[in-house]
């Protein structure tokens, strides 16, 4: 059995660690709150932009209106934008989303390029020897739209140049504090019409069929402005989802760590008491033995 001093030292170090994890838990809790607020703030813009797009798509004879809306007949290469975190200590957050990506794309019939967002994802992709064409790490804690619009721009450029024929976005959807689910979205070509019946919703909410639009200055200029921006916006929203998920995952992981640290500290305390008691018993036995030896002599 270990001696009392060793056990005492272990108890102290376990308690120190639990202080750290408890602090990280508190920090993550406040970050979750902030990032979910940011998420909610961007929602109106995203829904409105989506409405406008479905509107345009609902116009008669608009299938071939913009290169970013056109389905390519054959897909020869795809691009995957993978959102992970920059930092660890968030439980299985990063490995979950990377595993999800591996499930979807490891045996894909055509070559896959990756854009890694977040240091963890980049490292994991490198380790798996994937072709990573761009990486974004060290994003600010509360990214603004401008901070991340480059990611969407890369996707649009790769798609327009014909290097890739489809772009997917893989991120972790924030459902609630305890649940974050890896999710996949098709970013390009933009599929406006078959998006979860939102077109019908919109038409139901508005009177009469929408007449043909007037465009000012012209149709192409508007679509050129709107569609790439909307793509970046989807990336932005996904990043916010992913950030909220990361903080939530970290908070839960840190809570578990704090809990098991205090359980461990309890066990160690019990052991310490045992060791200490044993020591006292031994000393008493020594004294009694010594006294008896003296008395009998």
């Amino acid at each position: 059995m270990a001696n009392a001093r060793e056990v005492r030292l272990r108890i102290r170090s376990v308690k120190n660690i639990s202080n750290v994890t408890r602090a990280m838990q508190a920090v993550s809790a406040s970050k979750v709150r902030k990032s979910t607020e940011a998420l909610i703030r961007t929602r109106p813009y995203a829904t409105k932009a989506w409405q406008v797009l479905t509107h345009i798509a609902g116009q008669p004879g608009r299938e071939q209106m913009h290169p970013l809306l056109v389905q390519r007949p054959s897909v020869n290469r795809v691009l995957v934008v993978l959102l992970t975190g920059d930092r660890g200590l968030a439980g299985a957050f990063s490995s979950n989303i990377v595993r999800f990506a591996a499930q979807k794309f490891d045996n894909y019939p055509v070559p896959v390029d990756y854009v890694a967002v977040g240091r963890k994802g980049r490292d994991l992709l490198f380790r798996r020897r994937k072709s990573v064409i761009a990486e974004f790490s060290n994003l600010p804690a509360a990214p603004s739209f401008g901070d991340v619009s480059a990611i969407g721009r890369i996707a649009v450029e790769e798609f327009l140049s014909g290097k890739v024929d489809e772009v997917y976005l893989l991120y972790t959807d924030y459902i609630n504090m305890a649940r974050q689910v890896p999710d996949m979205k098709k970013l390009l070509p933009l599929e406006v019409t078959n998006a979860e019946g939102r077109v019908q919703d919109f038409q139901a909410a508005h009177r009469g069929p929408a007449a043909t639009y007037l465009y000012e200055p012209d149709e192409m200029a508007i679509l050129d402005d709107l569609i790439p921006r909307f793509t970046s916006l989807q990336v932005y929203q996904a990043i916010l989802e992913s950030l909220a998920s990361e903080h939530a995952a970290r908070m839960v992981a840190m809570k578990n760590a704090t809990d098991s640290a205090s359980a461990l500290a309890d066990t160690l305390l019990l052991e310490y008491n045992k060791v200490r008691q044993q020591g006292i018993t031994n000393e008493i036995l020594d004294i009694v033995g010594g006294a008896e030896a003296l008395g009998s002599s």
Binding site: R41, Y45, V52, H206, Y215, I222
Partner: protein, 147 residues
């Protein structure tokens, strides 16, 4: 019958309410939109958007974006938008000064910073102009009872 007007910027809902007329800063000049306007899609310039309802006018600075007009609703998707009454004059002044200083130092190292600075200058000029022009004659809503 009024027309519904919704202004959203990338990070929040800026305005939502009824209007008798909305004046948009279009790419090729200002556009006044009345209820029952034909469906229209337009890009927006950097400028001032005016909403009038029952004789009361509200002003918003818009730095570019897209507006969609339906007979009963106008949706403005602005890159950034702000109610004139919310503009922080001191901050706008400060940011204009900073932008002017940087531009005065000669051409910055790369085009991106140059464009960013130029945009910042234009933005702060717009905000200052809007605040000066519209605030005095139109006090904050709620601060007076005049119609």
């Amino acid at each position: 019958m009024p027309i519904r007007c919704e202004i959203v910027s990338q990070d929040r809902m800026v305005f939502e309410g009824d209007a008798d007329i909305v004046v948009l800063p279009g790419m090729e000049g200002e556009m006044g939109i009345l209820p029952n306007h034909a469906p229209l899609l337009t890009t927006l310039n950097m400028g001032i958007l005016k909403v009038r309802y029952k004789g009361e006018e509200q002003y918003f600075t818009i730095s570019g974006g897209v507006a969609e007009v339906q007979p009963d609703i106008i949706t403005v998707l602005a890159n950034a938008a702000e109610n004139v009454n919310e503009i922080d004059l001191a901050r706008a002044e400060e940011s204009r000064r900073r932008a002017e200083e940087t531009l005065a130092k000669g051409p910055p190292p790369d085009t991106d910073t140059f464009l960013a600075m130029e945009a910042a200058l234009r933005r702060s000029n717009l905000r200052l102009e809007a605040a000066h022009r519209y605030r005095r004659s139109h006090p904050r809503p709620g601060s007076s009872t005049e119609k």
